[in-house]
Symmetry: C2
Subunit: 337 residues, 2 copies
């Protein structure tokens, strides 16, 4: 099975966005400092000021698992942490977050639980939950269904901006462990596990040791504490590049930070994909290349560091050496087992 079989067509989205590039750029002036495809948008209100870094995201059909499991306090955390990571990769620390909650019929118990999740993750990341919109839209959403979107705004000084341009041949690539699927690939995971394999959310697969609901709803990790620890241990300039492994996996996210002419060689044999990923691959007969394009496979953040820095020695980081930067014609060379 492939991702497109679950009804999600990454290529169609990419083609549509490519067509719209000129339209989007027509709204930009010299205050916009990022290009399309960067993790967060960069905006400098006036010359010399710190850059505002902003990103918007959803949690995909993880919301359907949450609704089905009746567990509403984790998806808000997922979304905040996802957004925090998307601006962290440019060196930004979060200022504030705004949420959008849309549902078919407003359940007075669900909304407070969702907001509690947003608030918990905002507190953990030192980020204000500055605003939100609650929309009750009968006819668009089924009564128990809901969708979430969130926008984060952070800030970074010009001299602290991380955009990958510091990456050099010889840099080593480190992976930081994910806590699960994070917020990507849920349409495929649902199709494979709940439909093809016919498993129930409360089923406890032997290889997982927890219920499918627990495994699938594991909260997307915020890498803010880990990256702060790295900055403290190695100094800010040592962190040459950071890539958040979200939709599109290694093949789509690592190239977003690679300078022209350099190639991130990643050897997937350097770590073992956690059991949930192996269960999906086996149950859905999903080819390895497809797995690595849809899922994070156990690594949610890739860090490029100079060879003399040993991220493995930083306490509590659990960093795994997964590859290195070489000269090469393609931005990423993902070596499958």
């Amino acid at each position: 099975m492939k991702y497109a079989d679950s009804g999600v067509n990454i290529d169609a989205a990419a083609r549509s966005l490519a067509r719209a590039k000129a339209t989007v750029r027509s709204t930009w002036d010299r205050r916009v400092k990022s290009d399309l495809g960067s993790f967060g948008g960069l905006f400098q209100p006036a010359p010399g000021e710190p850059l505002l870094v902003a990103s918007v995201d959803g949690v995909g059909t993880k919301v359907l698992i949450a609704a089905q499991a009746g567990r509403y306090d984790t998806v808000g955390q997922d979304l905040v942490n996802h957004c925090v990571n998307d601006i962290l990769v440019q060196g930004a620390e979060p200022l504030f977050f705004l949420d959008y909650f849309a549902t078919g019929r407003l359940d007075e118990d669900v909304l407070p639980a969702v907001l509690a999740g947003f608030a918990q993750a905002c507190r953990e990341n030192g980020c204000a939950l500055l605003g939100g919109e609650t929309a009750e839209m009968p006819g668009l959403y089924a009564p128990g269904d809901f969708d979430l979107a969130g926008t984060i705004v952070g800030r970074v000084r010009e001299e602290d901006l991380i955009d990958g341009s510091a990456i050099r041949a010889g840099d080593r690539l480190w992976g930081l462990p994910s806590t699960g699927l994070h917020t990507n690939g849920y349409s495929l995971a649902r199709k494979v596990l709940l439909e093809t394999a016919g498993l129930a959310l409360d089923h406890v697969p032997r290889e997982l040791g927890v219920s499918l609901a627990d495994a699938l709803l594991a909260v997307h990790r915020s890498y803010l504490p880990a990256v702060r620890a790295l900055w403290a241990a190695c100094g800010r300039p040592a962190v040459h590049g950071l890539a958040h492994i979200t939709g599109g996996g290694f093949p789509d996210n690592v190239p977003r930070i690679m300078p022209p002419g350099l190639c991130a060689v990643i050897d997937t044999r350097a770590w073992i994909a956690p059991p949930l990923f192996r269960l999906i691959a086996a149950a859905g007969d999903v080819p390895p290349a497809e797995m690595y394009r849809v899922f994070n496979m156990g690594i949610g953040m890739v860090v490029a560091l100079p060879p003399e820095v040993d991220a493995g020695a930083v306490p509590d980081l659990a960093a795994v050496l997964i590859g290195e930067v070489t000269r090469g014609p393609t931005p990423v060379d993902l070596r499958l087992a």
Copy 2:
């Protein structure tokens, strides 16, 4: 018919949000300068800096009309202009906007049209379309359905902040015309016009002179040019308060800017509600009080000005005198015909 009959329960949303207030506030520190219920959230990154003003919104089930009419380039404009107005009422000019587009099955022609709408309104408001998220979520949205959310960030100097605290007894209230329903009350409008009255979107009701689709998809007006003209004509300090008339109408939006002990007395006989509103009221037998709580009734922005300022004399503003500020126990006294 009442709004709740269309499946939207404003009171349930208000109760849920009231329960969540303490949770949301738990994420705030001294950098947050707004309270819950203000149009935009205010955030001051450091003392003395200009305030960032942020707001998130959707366009409600106007998206269903757009999908049904196959017209995708206006709802993006609706959303940008709505957001622009929500921070304009605090005196802020927009910096950038981010969009969220979610659909059941990505149509390669729809997304560029929606983005073109976002881009057009961003250009018109001098605002960068800084980022966006496109989500294909089979199982949550029907194939042709989609939802939109948008977040705007603007800025205002502390001394230019408008929060209604300058409003005085004796101030006069002026209304600026809306272009239609803007983005509120669509669930009720759809129920009344398309279900109860059984009208088709391409039907041209005699009293409208245009098709229902044209009337219902009229683009939400940005009041940025009008308010700039007012600032230029009367000086910034003369604008004591601005209220964007969105969901909840006059009764819910005017109180958001009224200082304690003052009452906005609004006489609805001062203007004639445009034909679309009268058509909905008649076809759905919707009581006047309900109409004024769901719809803008022809006035999308209320401006509080000192009595000596004649907004009616400002060219192209088309401002209508709709009431005045008195001392009184309730923040608004809406006088129905």
